[in-house]
């Protein structure tokens, strides 16, 4: 658009001229141009310059026959009307010039005459302006009338400007402006009417004039701001112009076409501008469509096709720019159903990018056309050369040759041949590539922002092709790379093929061997788009440097890669390509998202899920290639995360021994490693599993032609993805392994288990633990085949019933309230192990960690766990030994673990019960207070100041004999004051041994000294130890609880061995689910195992009787110590559920 002349680009502005009084010109001009609509001023300082207003052209002889016009539009006509042909002229005179001196008056008159003669023959209006200093300087009526008569003007056109007074000045100036506006309008209307009359009367000799008249009428209408009329005549002009193509014979055909198009361009530009400025976007687009349709096929001869394409491209560019500058948006009134009968337009036609893209496309067309024309021209017109001094003629779109002969310069028309070679030489001077790239870039950015990625890609591709054509391969490669991604993603293989073809050539030109190989291989592995079986026709596609996508072309490309690789091996290295990459081996890395997965895919599956270390395991390696020709693999290297497991498979045809296999690798020979297209090559190998832990196959490296190493990331068959692009192909898919299960669930990693620990961990326990004692659990570590390094013993105590923590929730706050507590670990082995500096020794209530010293094979180590039970509870003791086989860092990573567990019961050692024997009642039976209010109801009353017998029974509940060291009653403060307690019978010889399920009785005499309804006697304190062990004495605190005697129902049969007190028969009522205790005092009469008096409980309601078994009613009576007051008491409890 910038190429167009200014007068064409901007709407025409009326022109007026002012002559004389140059000092006032600036202010008048400024006032006129700030007018709405503005006016341009042609300011002439004095009247001598008025001659330029005179008609410059030669006076035409009105009688001469009308000449055929030499062109359609004169180039400078519009400019002339905008700068040199004023619609009105104002002659400025100062008041003193016309009123005073007669000489001055005469001068003024002659100036006026000159001006009049200059504008004679035109419609230009004359205005006379008198400039006064003051409004009061009244000019005489005579002068003004005389002046007006001289000028032959209306009195309205005689204006007085008052210079000094501000308000008067602006008032008179606005009057001048109004007069000018009126005159301009009249002038342009008159001019327009004059020309229009010619059109209407068809008063013209040629069609060129008709178009010219249309143009003029339209321009005059534009001067008047009569847009509809302007539009009408422009459109009329275009119509006539289009018809002219076939009919005109004035110029040789090529030049005629050029001229017509140049004029059409101006017309079209005017129309588009008018429509867009009026906000008629839809009309403008429809008009543009029409314009394009009328001219798209008017290409002309092939030699000048480039002219057409250049012109055609410019139409799009200019319209795009117009749309962009007018910021056209889709009107709301338009139906949103684009592209249908409701709304013929499409979304993109409102986007400048759409036009830029097409402009670029057509400009590229021009480039091709020039290439064609140039080659033809070089062959044929070498001799004729390019005509000199060709220049644009005065007519739009015409060229002439200047011909100098002596002093005379004449203008000669050109022949079409001359013109063609001239145009070609001009066109060849331009670098279209950069313009095309710029246009595509503009379109690309715009489409990208619109979210039209595919369209943007197409623009990107356009840029890339231009860069490629211009030899800028690195830019081209970068752009092509970006575009290829989209095509890969959406599976447009034909487009991808073309793209890769360019990329391949770019890499070749840039000497990028690796890229060249990877692009070539990708191309070779592409699935071809074959339409419905009509392969032949479809594949004739011309696809840039890649050639057409056919199977044979794919095979060729693959062969090319092989050749490139082979030539590298050639000793003389004759090929000029890729010479600097000679030494290296090319590595291609193919991961799961690489487009090269089509070229080679490795699927690796272990046949098992887990394996013992060191044992053999089977692995299947399957390779698949979509390359069209068979691929011979020299060597296949399978790599694992444990490098010891790596192995290499060599093709048997390979003569030379492998050089680069490292020592760890296992080398296997295979007969042939050839990959056929779309067929899995399946290899199953047995390997030795490595260390414990995860064994994962990382990659499979295939060496092809010695210098190409393709490293494929191993994929598990279970999680293998579809092949890109090939997944859309309708072809048979095969499985990577023959075993279907493996093909769907095989994994590329396997768990290698830990080796079996060869260390024994022994937990010994001496039966049940007793509450209160420190229970010792010896732990022995016995090495049977492994040395133990940095061993660690973890001890855990867990509630056997579950629940984990070894404390009851309500006691959780108190740290000492753990039911079972790990007190410590002592290492006893006769020899005390010296404390290691870094030994770990953390002991908590239920958890402990102890470090184990380094043990060599066959050694043993033991320690003792000290555990204390606070409550009878069953506990699981877990002990685990973790160790490593060596002290090095690597070995330290692999730790072996041995676990042992042991359930330990906690038992209550002694069951303590007590009894009170009161002296015989000596008072008459009286009602006594049995229940005290508010006090503990489980209490018995004692006789005051009498000796009450208090018997404490300690029964051994365990299976081991216990040694009782002492039994005392420790009265508390209350008890001390109120009563005295004396031990009647004690423990002889320092201790008493109680066999399992035996009882020990301690007898105390309690003598209350004061009367109290509620007092606490004290605590029974037992000091005991295991009879066999050397453990420390323990104390057991038992709190005595007093209770009230209750009635029971029973019948008791006499026994000969006992005398007993109490009733033989009694009845009692027992509440449901309650316990009832029947107490009798028995005095044995003999020692040894004795039958107790038999008790029979009868439920009256059900007439059911319960008799305890004989064994339950048998007690062993020890021979009594030679003491008088030994008594045995036994209580029998029976339950009866009513």
């Amino acid at each position: 658009m910038e190429d167009y002349p200014e007068e064409l680009r901007t709407p025409p502005v009326s022109l007026v001229s002012i002559v004389g009084c140059p000092e006032l010109h600036p202010s008048i001009s400024a006032a006129l141009s700030s007018q709405q609509p503005p006016m341009n001023t042609l300011a002439l300082p004095d009247f001598s310059k008025a001659s330029i207003l005179a008609r410059s052209g030669k006076a035409r002889d009105p009688l001469a026959p009308p000449q055929a016009p030499a062109g359609i539009l004169k180039k400078d006509w519009l400019l002339k009307h905008r700068t040199r042909v004023p619609a009105a002229v104002a002659a400025l005179f100062r008041a003193d010039q016309v009123s005073g001196d007669p000489a001055q008056w005469l001068q003024a008159c002659s100036d006026l005459e000159n001006l009049k003669s200059a504008i004679q023959g035109k419609n230009t209006k004359l205005v006379v302006v008198l400039v006064q200093a003051q409004a009061s300087d009244e000019l005489s009526e005579d002068v003004t009338v005389a002046l007006r008569k001289r000028a032959e003007i209306d009195s309205r056109h005689m204006i007085v400007l008052v210079e000094q007074d501000e308000t008067e000045w602006s008032r008179s100036l606005s009057k001048l402006k109004n007069v000018f506006a009126e005159l301009c309008s009249a002038f342009y209307k008159e001019e327009g009417r004059r020309i229009k009359a010619r059109i209407e009367k068809r008063n013209f000799s040629s069609v060129e004039l008709s178009i010219r008249y249309c143009f003029k009428v339209a321009v005059y209408a534009e001067f008047r701001r009569d847009w509809p009329e302007a539009l009408k005549f422009y459109e009329e002009g275009v119509r006539v112009l289009r018809e002219m193509i076939g009919t005109s014979t004035r110029l040789p055909p090529t030049q005629r076409l050029v001229e017509i198009k140049a004029v059409a361009e101006q017309f079209h530009f005017k129309i588009s501008t008018l429509l867009l400025h009026a906000g008629k976007v839809v009309e403008a687009i429809l008009w543009f469509r029409k314009h394009i349709r009328s001219y798209e096929r008017v290409v002309g001869t092939p030699e000048v096709a480039f002219l057409h394409w250049e012109w055609f491209s410019r139409q799009f560019l200019v319209f795009g720019e117009l749309i962009e500058t007018s910021a056209a948006t889709v009107p709301d009134t338009l139906s949103p159903r684009f592209g249908t009968a409701d709304n013929a337009l499409t979304e993109w036609e409102f986007q400048p990018a759409y036009y830029y893209q097409l402009a670029a496309t057509y400009l590229r067309e021009k480039r091709y056309a020039i290439e064609c024309s140039s080659s033809v021209a070089n062959l044929t017109t070498e001799a004729s050369g390019i005509p000199e001094s060709v220049m644009p003629s005065v007519y739009v779109g015409q060229y002439v040759r200047l011909f100098e002969q002596g002093d005379t310069v004449s203008v000669l028309p050109l022949s079409d041949t001359e013109y063609t070679s001239y145009a070609l030489s001009e066109a060849e001077r331009f670098q279209d590539s950069y313009e095309i790239i710029a246009l595509f870039r503009k379109a690309y950015e715009s489409f990208q922002s619109l979210g039209a990625t595919r369209m943007a890609s197409a623009c990107s591709r356009g840029m890339a092709i231009e860069y490629y054509a211009a030899g800028d391969f690195s830019n081209a490669k970068q752009l092509f790379d970006g575009v290829a991604g989209l095509y890969r993603q959406e599976g447009w293989t034909t487009l991808l093929w073309e793209n890769l073809g360019y990329l391949r050539e770019c890499s070749r030109k840039l000497n990028f061997l690796k890229d060249f190989i990877s692009y070539s291989l990708e191309m070779a592995a592409l699935p071809l788009f074959s339409g419905s079986g009509e392969e032949n026709r479809e594949n004739k596609i011309k696809s840039g440097p890649g050639g057409s996508p056919t199977i044979s072309r794919r095979e060729n490309i693959q062969q090319e890669v092989i050749n490139v690789l082979k030539r590298k091996q050639a000793p003389d290295g004759t090929n000029d390509e890729f010479d600097n990459a000679m030494e290296e081996t090319t590595h291609l890395d193919i991961d799961q998202i690489s487009p090269l997965r089509m070229v080679l895919t490795a699927s690796v599956a272990f046949h098992d899920q887990s394996v013992k270390p060191g044992s053999p395991l089977l692995i299947s390696v399957s390779l698949l290639s979509h390359l069209p020709s068979p691929v011979v693999v020299d060597q296949l290297e399978v790599q694992f995360n444990q490098s010891d497991c790596n192995f290499v498979i060599h093709s048997a045809q390979e003569d030379s021994p492998p050089l680069d296999s490292n020592l760890h690798d296992q080398v296997v020979e295979a007969t042939s490693l050839t990959l056929f297209t779309n067929k899995w090559m399946r290899l199953t190998r047995e390997i030795k599993s490595g260390q414990s832990g995860k064994l994962e196959c990382l990659s499979v490296k295939a060496t092809i032609n010695k210098h190409l190493v393709i490293c494929c990331h191993a994929e598990s068959p279970a999680s293998m993805e579809d092949f890109p692009l090939w997944k859309f192909e309708d072809h048979v898919e095969t499985l990577p392994t023959k075993d279907n299960v493996l093909a769907f669930s095989g994994q590329k990693l396997i768990q290698v288990e830990e080796p079996d620990a060869q260390v024994d961990l022994v937990l010994n326990s001496a039966g049940s633990a007793l509450v209160g004692e420190i229970f010792i659990v010896p732990v022995t570590i016995l090495s049977k085949g492994h040395a133990v390094h940095s061993g660690e013993l973890k001890i855990n105590l867990v509630d056997a019933k579950g629940g984990g923590l070894l404390m009851s929730p309500r006691e959780a706050e108190e740290s000492e309230s753990h039911d079972v507590e790990l007190l410590g670990v002592s290492t006893v082995d006769g020899k005390e192990l010296k404390e290691e500096v870094d030994s770990i020794r953390k002991i908590q209530y239920s958890f402990g960690v102890v470090s184990v010293p380094t043990l060599s094979e066959g050694d043993s180590w033991s320690c003792k766990l000290e555990i204390k039970w606070h409550r009878a509870k069953s506990v699981m003791l877990y002990v685990s030994l973790g160790y490593s086989l060596g002290s090095t860092e690597e070995e330290a990573l692999h730790r072996l673990n041995v676990h042992r567990s042991l359930q330990i019961e906690g038992q209550i050692p002694l069951l303590v019960t007590h009894q009170l024997l009161r002296p015989f009642r000596r008072e008459p039976l009286l009602l006594s207070e049995i229940r005290s209010l508010g006090g503990d109801d489980k209490k018995c009353s004692l006789a005051m100041n009498e000796s009450n017998m208090f018997i404490v029974n300690a029964r051994n509940c365990t299976e081991v004999p216990l040694r009782l060291h002492s039994m005392t009653i420790e009265p508390d403060d209350d008890g001390k004051q109120l009563c005295s307690v004396q031990q009647v019978s004690g423990i002889s010889n320092g201790h008493a041994v109680i066999a399992p399920s035996e009882e020990y009785k301690g007898i105390f005499s309690v003598n209350p000294r004061a009367s109290s309804s509620n007092f606490h006697l004290g605590d029974i304190c037992l000091n005991w130890s295991r009879d066999s062990s050397l453990g420390e004495d323990q104390e057991t605190h038992v709190i005595m609880k007093q209770r009230l005697p209750e009635e029971i129902k029973y019948s008791l049969v006499d026994s000969q061995n006992f005398v007993f007190s109490g009733a033989h028969n009694h009845a009692a009522f027992i509440l449901p689910k309650s316990e009832h205790t029947v107490s009798h005092k028995l005095v044995p009469l003999g020692s040894g195992s004795q039958q107790l008096p038999r008790i029979t409980v009868t439920s009256v309601r059900y007439s059911a009787a319960l008799t305890p078994s004989t064994s339950a009613a048998t007690v062993f009576i020890y021979p009594s110590e030679p003491k008088f007051n030994l008594e045995t008491s036994c209580s029998t409890s029976d339950e009866c559920v009513s």
Partner: protein, 143 residues
């Protein structure tokens, strides 16, 4: 004259693309069809489109480019049909009619039990049928 017809799948991948020109602009047609997917995306995802048009399968003229016009059609299973023609004046009814016939042919082709959904259509009889439909386009046999 119809120069190209295409079936485009869910991932915007070509399932069928056949051009009917003797000239070697087949690649250009591939590009045109590919670019037209942008317009389809725009039309289908445009919330401005009023509700009654949502059920409309015929998408109309997608865009004019160079001397081609591209028409689109979206099936109820979101498979896209694209037709490229060089005719200057295409009647809406003709285009609709063409697509209706083409849709029927497509349905028959993918109903083949040996056809795997989402794969390219390789059926020869489909190709033949499409050629027939293309040849009859605009020849006045609407109905």
């Amino acid at each position: 004259m119809i120069v190209c017809v295409a079936v485009v799948g869910h991932q915007n991948n070509p399932l069928y693309l056949q051009s009917f020109t003797e000239a070697d602009d087949a690649l250009k047609l591939h590009h045109i069809v590919h670019c037209s997917l942008d317009v389809i995306d725009e039309r289908v995802n445009n919330p401005k489109r009023s509700a009654p048009t949502l059920n409309e399968t015929f998408l109309g003229l997608l865009y004019p480019t160079e001397n081609y016009k591209v028409y689109g059609y979206l099936t109820n299973t979101k498979v896209k049909f694209i037709m490229v023609t060089t005719d200057l004046d295409v009647k809406d009814a003709d285009a609709r009619n063409f697509f209706r016939k083409f849709h029927a042919a497509y349905v028959d082709a993918v109903s083949n039990p040996f056809h795997v959904p989402g794969k390219k259509i390789a059926s020869r009889s489909f190709g033949v049928r499409v050629s027939t439909i293309v040849k009859s386009f605009g020849s006045g046999t609407t109905g």
